[in-house]
């Protein structure tokens, strides 16, 4: 006979059940806590140090907002704020349409050579931002080939900053817009076509709304990059003051850390704002993408394809002219007087002058950052996404992982000096060491890497850990045997990203190096200041060459992995 639901009295009093925590879970929780502490120490500590410093006078006495009032009273600051904002806005307004059209050509036309155009457009990422500044000086400077084009205006100042920043930010904007355009659903276009929608209308009702969030996100990234970048205005800015250079002048020039802290906080403001806009857009960009979307396949259209091809040729040529000029400069005797081929900038300018060590320092720093950064970031993301319990620690790690994107390198660097150079900090031995350069670089680029790791981990089946537990296999075994191999492409991608950025970074590390740990990008800055523009170009060329090699190696290794060791990926139904 059937037994209807019997409401048996509970066998035990309904006291809260406290589960036994297995030592493996404790291990996972402990590691996660360690990640949290590390992020607090190397991110929150330095930022807090800036906050403290900004409300103190030179002798460390609390003065409230006195420093801010003094600084705002000087007209120089207001000019810097205004300069920073209008330059960044101009760069954004020019870069975004350029990048959008380029991305549109790559996704919506049937032109030839898409692969080549794509690769060329991404080359600026491989170079330090200083390279474009040097190159523009060569083209348009006092002895520039195309000086006449400027009609008497000087490249040293806003024009130079804007041109260089457009070059440096173009690939960043392109990648974001490209992703947004690639995610669009081809079925929308088919539906529009069946309704005989004119092309222009399709563009304004489907393409543009679809790419809207991507465009806003790209604009925010370009804006923050330009506001935060310090290398370009330092080299080509002349007497044109902007905030990032002000921090440098206050700290390095006048040794006024309090004022530096004040300017840092002011610089932080627009970047945090842009970050918040971008963050909210990222969420919507993902929500827009449905798993069932069908990729758009462009149709041939002779005139449109030709126009797009022409546009991409022009842009690609301009990008190559910038990169090419720097490389060319490094291989000739003296621009523009003696254009004969020479390696003297490498042999005499770099090796004999001993500056070449800074290149090796950079390589070392980039390798350490790539290896240790990838290990830490991926492990932290794994513990965050795939272990159970400790919700508060997880929330903290999640928040801390998002913060670095909103912190300009100058601000982070200054925070590191203030925090780690403090005599009472037991870690002050780190100051000026390779370790602190590596740490600051990892923290500086943490957010993008973290997001890559989280995306890769979220693509894995959620029940791997549950299955392992039921099979009595410790989680760390499954981590090494399954999670890491399956996520290997993403892990390598993180490593490459860290390496390339570590090779070109300057803003955070410019405060942290010592003569023995000087980095290549910093050396470029110093050589440029000393008028050694040929040697500076040679160093920039070396950076581009080494980053290119790493990217090529990455491409080869990834392809090898996909075809050989990861044959399970592209399996067909037997």
């Amino acid at each position: 006979m059937s037994t209807p639901a019997v409401a048996l009295p509970p066998a035990i009093a309904p006291a809260k059940v406290t589960p036994h925590v297995h030592w493996q879970d404790r291990l996972a929780h402990g590691l996660l806590l360690l990640c949290c502490v590390a992020l607090a120490l190397f991110l929150v500590g330095p930022l807090a140090a800036i906050l403290v410093k900004s409300v103190q006078d030179k002798d460390g006495v609390f003065v409230g907002l006195q420093q801010f009032r003094e600084y705002f009273a000087t007209g120089a600051l207001q000019r810097s704020i205004w300069n920073t904002l209008w330059v960044a806005t101009t760069v954004t307004a020019i870069t975004i349409p350029l990048a959008f059209t380029y991305a549109y050509a790559l996704t919506r036309s049937c032109m030839r050579g898409k692969m080549v155009f794509r690769v060329i457009a991404l080359t600026p990422i491989l170079a330090p931002s200083l390279l474009s500044a040097i190159s523009f000086i060569q083209w348009f400077g006092t002895q520039g080939l195309l000086k006449g084009l400027l009609g008497g205006a000087s490249i040293y100042g806003p024009i130079g900053i804007i041109l260089s920043a457009i070059y440096a930010t173009f690939p960043h904007a392109l990648m974001i817009v490209l992703t947004a355009l690639l995610l669009s659903d081809g079925r929308l276009y088919e539906a529009a076509e069946s309704l005989r929608t004119p092309t222009m209308r399709k563009f304004f009702t489907i393409t543009l709304p679809g790419a809207k969030y991507g465009l806003v996100s790209a604009a925010m990234v370009v804006f923050s990059y330009t506001v935060s970048d310090f290398g370009i205005p330092k080299v080509i800015g002349g007497n044109f003051n902007i905030l990032a250079v002000d921090i440098f002048k206050q700290v390095i020039g006048m040794q006024n850390f309090n004022k530096g802290a004040v300017v840092s906080l002011i610089l932080l403001f627009p970047v945090v704002l842009a970050f918040l806009v971008d963050w909210s857009m990222q969420g919507r960009l993902q929500a827009q993408f449905t798993a069932r979307a069908v990729p758009y396949v462009p149709k041939r259209d002779r005139w449109f394809d030709r126009a797009m091809f022409g546009y991409c040729c022009v842009i690609a040529l301009l990008l190559l002219l910038v990169l090419g000029m720097a490389i060319y400069t490094s291989f000739i005797k003296l621009w523009p007087y003696d254009k004969s081929f020479s390696l003297r900038h490498y042999t005499y300018g770099l090796i004999d002058a001993g500056v070449i060590n800074s290149f090796f320092n950079s390589l070392k720093m980039a390798c350490f950052s790539a290896v240790f950064g990838t290990m830490f970031i991926f492990a932290a993301a794994y513990l965050l996404e795939k272990t159970r319990g400790v919700p508060l620690t997880k929330a903290a790690v999640r928040l801390l992982a998002a913060v670095p994107m909103a912190v300009p390198g100058m601000v982070l660097g200054l925070g590191y000096i203030l925090f780690f150079n403090h005599p009472d900090n037991p870690l002050n031995g780190l100051y000026h060491t390779m370790t602190i350069l590596v740490l600051s670089t990892i923290v500086h680029y943490y957010t993008s890497c973290h997001l890559t790791a989280v995306t890769a981990l979220k693509a894995l089946d959620n029940e791997f850990e549950a299955v392992s537990a039921s099979l009595k296999v410790p989680f760390y075994k499954t981590f090494f045997r399954v999670t890491v191999p399956v996520c290997l492409p993403a892990i390598l991608d993180i490593g490459r990203y860290l390496f390339v950025n570590a090779m070109v970074t300057i803003s955070a590390v410019v405060f942290l190096y010592s003569p023995s740990t000087q980095l290549a990008a910093v050396a470029i800055l110093n050589m440029d200041e000393a008028g050694e523009i040929g040697a500076a170009a040679a160093m920039a060329t070396l950076i581009v060459a080494s980053s290119t090699m790493v990217c090529v190696a990455y491409a080869i290794v990834t392809r090898f992995l996909l075809t050989r060791t990861q044959q399970w990926r592209n399996t067909t139904l037997a």
Binding site: T3, V6, A11, D461, E463, V467, P474, L573, A574
Partner: protein, 364 residues
């Protein structure tokens, strides 16, 4: 801690759940659930999404922690143990096979950790692959197999270490219709052959009816009824169970005393002990219990009616029926195709329907 299992049900009961409650924020997923599962039995948790069936399974597995209540498995209180300390194998809807490992390595995954010899492991894997009917799958990768084959591998992996309890979380939901029917027969046969105590979660009533020794029907965090498939289908204990399992006609009625119930202008006979006259009840009748005849033979419990529509479903026809008597809601009858063809069933036709008293269920 928990008192030992009550004497009455000791001996055969393998798993005792008592007073299991679980809330997610304000949402009460489980409200003091109690259940016993016998050794070697296959129990199916059946219910709509959000009824708490998966949560209950995950609590048994230790993948969620109950707020209150106890779980005793094979005489051992496992209420507070982490998943890794419990004894079960589990199969998920998504298969959760490790994509970078071969089928052989997937099946051996839990064995390798038990310090068995290589030979012993290889033998065991071969035995399991044979058991699930895929003896040659060993060197392949999961991506090279069909969904149904992957789920068989997941089953082999869960059974590899001969666990005392097998948990199946909607194992067939990701498969296509044909594969689903085939695999449900195979899983049931395998379960009976190995005699492993099994709990399966599903929202598919057909799956539950065809596979279970006993079905646990759940709704809104509570157990509505526990019984064999026949008991659940023929004697639903609550209105929810009657509605959820199979198709059923529902008639609002008022008891007239004795075995008579008034539905609109009709007075129906129901084989059922007396209910106080005047009580409002609901009468439940399965579509296949309704008899459809053409010649209005003056049968007992038969009424004149008209065919509203005929829906052809292959082996059966669903027949919409409007009774001639006033204020009686339309009924649906399930008529075998041969019978329907025999009487030339068509919309608008005058018929006689019989409503057998013995098939009518009365629920409050």
């Amino acid at each position: 801690m928990t008192a030992p299992a009550p004497a009455s049900s000791a001996g055969t009961a393998f798993l005792h759940l008592a007073g299991i409650s679980k809330s997610f924020g304000k949402f009460e997923a489980l409200k003091s659930v109690a259940l016993e599962v016998k050794r070697g039995e296959m129990v199916v948790f059946l219910g709509p999404s959000g009824c708490g069936k998966t949560t209950l399974l995950r609590i048994v597995a230790g993948l969620e922690t109950q707020d209150a209540g106890s779980i005793v498995q094979d005489g051992r209180d496992v209420s507070r143990l982490p998943a890794i300390k419990r004894d079960y194998g589990i199969v998920f809807q998504s298969y959760a096979l490790f994509p970078n490992l071969t089928i052989r390595d997937n099946v051996a995954y839990g064995l390798v950790n038990r310090k068995q010899g290589r030979k012993a492991i290889a033998d065991r894997v071969r035995e399991l692959l044979k058991l699930i009917g895929l003896p040659d799958a060993g060197p392949k990768y999961p991506g090279q197999l069909s969904g149904g084959q992957q789920q068989r591998i997941a089953l082999a992996r869960a059974l590899a270490s001969a666990p005392g309890l097998l948990l199946l979380d909607e194992p067939l939901s990701a498969l296509d219709a044909i594969e689903r029917v085939r695999l449900r027969g195979e899983i049931r046969a395998l379960q009976q052959r190995l005699g492993v105590t099994t709990i399966m979660v599903t929202h598919d009533q057909e799956e539950a009816l065809s596979m279970a020794d006993r079905i646990v029907v759940m709704n809104a965090g509570r157990i509505e009824q526990v019984g064999t498939p026949r008991e659940i289908y023929e004697f639903p204990a609550t209105a929810f169970v009657a509605d959820f399992v199979g198709k059923i006609n529902v008639l609002s009625a008022v008891a007239e005393g004795g075995s008579r119930f008034r539905v609109g202008a009709l007075s129906l006979t129901v084989a059922r002990p007396d209910i106080t006259a005047g009580t409002a009840v609901k009468l439940y009748l399965r579509p296949e219990e309704i008899g459809v005849h053409v010649n209005g033979a003056a049968k007992l419990d038969a009424w004149p009616a008209r065919v509203a529509k005929v829906e052809f479903l292959g082996a059966f026809c669903l027949v919409g029926i409007a009774l001639d008597a006033a204020d009686v809601p339309p009924l649906v009858a399930n008529v075998p195709r041969q019978v329907a063809d025999g009487i030339g069933l068509a919309a608008g036709q005058a018929i006689t329907v019989s409503l057998p008293p013995g098939a009518m269920r009365v629920l409050g």
